[in-house]
């Protein structure tokens, strides 16, 4: 069967012909759209390396059928920076040494962006750790990750307040 879907990926509208309904969003991004920043770790929803935003919410792209997301807006790690200027979460990950090997990092960063949008954790490190528990880091960079998320959130709130003033 052939199925045509439309997705807005990193602000670019795309029409994609799917020759097989089994394609997950993760495989679509990596194999068909050459957006390989999103990583395939476990491919079973356990590690969080494949985290992207769909319609503004962080999800595991390995457990979503692309066909089912027809019409959705997808944001991946490639769509985060503004030109050469890294997103505040990306900048904070670098400053706080929030990774070692880097494999889980795109998923960590997209998850953190989703977490900050959800606005449920506040400035409580325990709530941040809990809200990031769907992203595993085998290098154990959790301390830096928690600090980076808190720092990025502080900066983004401050930037938003500056703009509003």
């Amino acid at each position: 069967m052939s199925l045509s879907i439309t997705l807005t990926v990193n602000a670019v509208p795309r029409t994609i012909a799917l020759d097989d309904p089994r394609v997950t969003l993760l495989d679509l991004l990596r194999e068909r759209l050459d957006l390989t920043g999103t990583k395939k770790g476990c491919d079973r929803g356990q590690c969080g390396a494949c985290t992207v935003l769909v319609d503004g919410r962080r999800v595991n792209s390995c457990l979503a059928l692309a066909a089912s997301l027809d019409g959705a807006e997808v944001l991946t790690i490639e769509g985060l920076a503004e030109g050469e200027v890294p997103h505040p979460v990306q900048a904070a990950f670098i400053e706080h040494d929030a990774f070692q090997c880097g494999f889980c990092t795109p998923g960590q960063i997209m998850s953190a962006v989703g977490l900050i949008r959800e606005a449920q954790a506040g400035d409580d490190p325990e709530r941040v750790r809990e809200a990031m528990s769907g992203n595993l880091c085998r290098c154990g960079a959790y301390k830096g990750i928690t600090e980076a998320v808190l720092e990025a959130q502080r900066r983004m709130v401050a930037n938003a307040e500056e703009k509003a003033a």
């Binding site: 457990l63 979503a64 998850s111």
Partner: protein, 352 residues
């Protein structure tokens, strides 16, 4: 993953008609179904995608003070709905103790009820499993079974239902709305899941092709809001299934328990409401001794199904913990670690 036929109906009626074909499965978010399909545990011939069916993603306040939750409402949308969380705080706490933030953003109400057991032998097509392949045998019986059922199990199957959400729901008298070829029917959640007996492959009362369209909580369920908690013991602090869990709701009048609602999770093939324990608490003053008697009543029929006798005493203690926290009052804000027995509980003495 097997090849399948993919259809995307536009109405509930179309969905039910499409799923009448044998071998069909409904797709909501797919967080459990796709995982099972990738492992070759489920091999549906047709996926009936509910993404375009209108009306299934609505949280609706009912005139009696209850709520009707559409089957495709996402876990996080329900847990963070301020009106819902205020009236049914133990349900919100259970939702937020389950899975990860990413999964809660996708996983749905109907999918939660219908999620499959996490028994490792069910998940492994190379193992014998009566649930996956009726008559094949059960490798869990003599296998790694310390997390398996202690209530309602059979020689054919000792798997547990992994849901957190269903535990407070069953305690609060939730009702499942079901649509099928013959029209709409309703089943109390307590009667929705089946115990394994000799047919562990049959997990709910749904007939083939029937669709959960909503879950309802009655208005009286909100009368427990001031004293309602969910407690879940896990083998790690977050993002893990329950070893055992308990939901407790108390309605206190003049310092005595007018009515109690209690259910256990992780102990059986269904969320396990314990009316005999609720009866023990009716009319008595909340306290350690009464709570222990309720816990003894709740587990009176429990039997280990393997290396899991510890779960029986653990379930008693988690039930006492849930009751102790419920009696102390629902906190203004959920703890940073929802449902965790390790969360600090200011003002509550947990160890007598």
């Amino acid at each position: 993953m097997n090849r399948f036929d993919y259809v995307r109906p536009a109405t509930v009626a179309e969905a039910v008609a499409a799923a009448a074909q044998p071998g069909s499965a409904y797709l909501a978010a797919g967080t459990n179904l796709l995982d099972l399909m990738k492992g070759g545990v489920m091999r549906p011939a047709r996926l009936v995608d509910l993404a375009r069916v209108p009306g299934l993603d609505v949280i609706e306040a009912l005139p009696d003070g209850g709520v009707r939750i559409g089957a495709r409402v996402r876990n996080s949308d329900l847990a963070y709905d301020p009106g819902f969380a205020r009236r049914f705080p133990a349900v919100a706490e259970a939702l937020l103790s389950g899975a990860s933030a990413q999964l809660r953003n996708a996983a749905t109400v109907g999918g939660n009820l219908l999620q499959r057991t996490r028994c490792a032998y069910f998940y492994d097509p190379a193992s014998a499993c009566n649930k996956r392949e009726p008559g094949a045998g059960c490798d869990a019986r003599d296998g790694e079974n310390r997390l398996h059922a202690v209530l309602g199990w059979s020689e054919q199957c000792i798997a547990t239902h992994p849901s957190d959400f269903c535990v407070p729901l069953v305690a609060l008298g939730a009702v499942v709305e079901i649509e099928g070829k013959a029209g709409r029917r309703e089943v109390p959640l307590e009667e929705f899941h089946c115990l394994p007996g000799s047919t562990p492959e049959r997990e709910s009362v749904l007939a083939p092709g029937e669709l959960i369209v909503a879950v309802r909580l009655p208005g009286e369920a909100a009368s427990f809001a001031g004293h309602a908690r969910y407690v879940k013991l896990r083998e790690r602090t977050s993002y893990a299934f329950a070893v055992v869990s308990a939901a407790a709701g108390l309605r206190l009048v003049d310092g005595a328990i007018a009515e109690a609602r209690l259910a256990l999770g992780g102990v059986a093939a269904k969320p396990w409401r314990v009316p005999e324990a609720e009866a023990v608490l009716r009319g008595v003053r909340p306290g350690a001794e009464a709570f222990r008697r309720a816990a003894e009543a709740a587990l009176s029929e429990a039997q280990p199904s393997g290396d899991n006798a510890f779960k029986i005493e653990l379930a008693r203690r988690i039930l006492v913990r849930a009751l102790t926290l419920a009696a102390a009052g629902t906190p203004e804000r959920l703890p940073a670690l929802p449902a965790s027995p390790h969360a600090p509980h200011p003002g509550v003495s947990l160890h007598g």
